[in-house]
């Protein structure tokens, strides 16, 4: 199996789009549908290479989830890329401060997303 990438988005369509691109490239994709489920999934998964996370989601947004996770030393080096419709400087700055490594405003091109994942998490194997 390839490196594990956790995709967190409340839209199953977006999750499946992202999963399709990454699975085809050889990554193992695990999905979660909001910040609470995302945090639980990250906690329960060993060797997470990277997380791709939406911002506006029910129960817990992506930036709050990231800030929560980063309080745990185990997740200090977690690589998180935000993928969202948000493009305002405020949320981008908050995500950066919380420890995100990158930001893409939807919609995304498959090749750009894959290049970002390769750059941040390395090749799939």
């Amino acid at each position: 199996m390839g490196k594990k990438v956790i995709v967190i988005d409340d839209s199953r369509t977006v999750r499946q789009q992202v999963a399709g691109v990454l699975s085809q490239a050889g990554y193992e994709v695990i999905e979660a549908s909001d910040g609470v489920e995302g945090a639980e999934t990250i906690d329960a998964t060993k060797d997470v290479a990277m997380v791709i996370c939406d911002v506006n989601m029910p129960r817990m947004n992506g930036i709050d989830m990231l800030a929560l996770l980063k309080k745990n030393p185990r997740h200090a080096d977690l690589i998180v890329l935000m993928l969202t419709t948000e493009g305002q400087p405020g949320p981008i700055a908050r995500a950066k401060q919380a420890g995100a490594k990158g930001w893409i405003v939807k919609p995304f091109e498959a090749q750009l997303l894959l290049a970002a994942v390769r750059k941040l998490a390395g090749d799939p194997a």
Partner: protein, 181 residues
């Protein structure tokens, strides 16, 4: 909100629709008509999302014929109930992206909008009451022989000025570009 601001808000919504709908596989006509008669909600999906800003709150609703949503779905639809859920989800994502674009437009006028999360229901379950009090715009865009309806309602604190000066405007990160920290 001042009357001229309502007009500007309407223009921002139209610009967002022209940008987002074609990206989502919905090739709408460029020029909408004002929606002054109720939409027949049969075989329509109603996707909506709330938003709030300093001294204002509202909702953006999009009514989409099921057949159009089905044609625009970007992946292979599954069968049965799964397909139904996928169409609901995709409609929610469309309205989410539309609000994201409206938000970027409002940001250029110094207004910071906080979005909620999208919801979708069958159109039959939604009743519209057009209220002059909260009405920003109700638009109908022709699309592949059908129509896409877009409604924006917002309530602000009286006639308070809503848009800010250009110094308060914030530039948004462009779509589809990678920003690394």
């Amino acid at each position: 909100m001042q009357p001229s601001e309502r007009s500007d808000f309407r223009d921002i919504v139209i610009g967002a629709c022209r940008h987002v709908f074609p990206q989502c596989g919905l090739p709408i006509s460029l020029d909408p008509t004002n929606l002054d008669v109720p939409v027949d909600p049969a075989e329509q999906l109603a996707a909506f999302i709330g938003f709030s800003a300093d001294s204002m709150r509202g909702a953006l609703t999009v009514l989409l014929p099921v057949a159009l949503v089905r044609r625009s779905y970007p992946l292979t639809l599954k069968g049965g109930l799964e397909a139904h859920l996928e169409l609901f989800d995709w409609s929610g994502e469309i309205v989410n992206r539309l609000l994201g674009r409206v938000k970027a437009g409002l940001a250029t006028r110094g207004v910071d909008v906080e979005p909620s999360t999208p919801k979708t229901m069958m159109g039959e379950q939604l009743q519209f009451v057009h209220s002059q009090h909260s009405h920003v715009c109700a638009l109908s865009f022709a699309c592949e022989g059908a129509a896409v309806a877009v409604l924006v309602d917002a309530i602000s604190d009286g006639e308070k000025v809503f848009f800010r000066s250009s110094e308060d405007a914030a530039a948004s990160q462009p779509e589809g570009e990678l920003l690394l920290f």
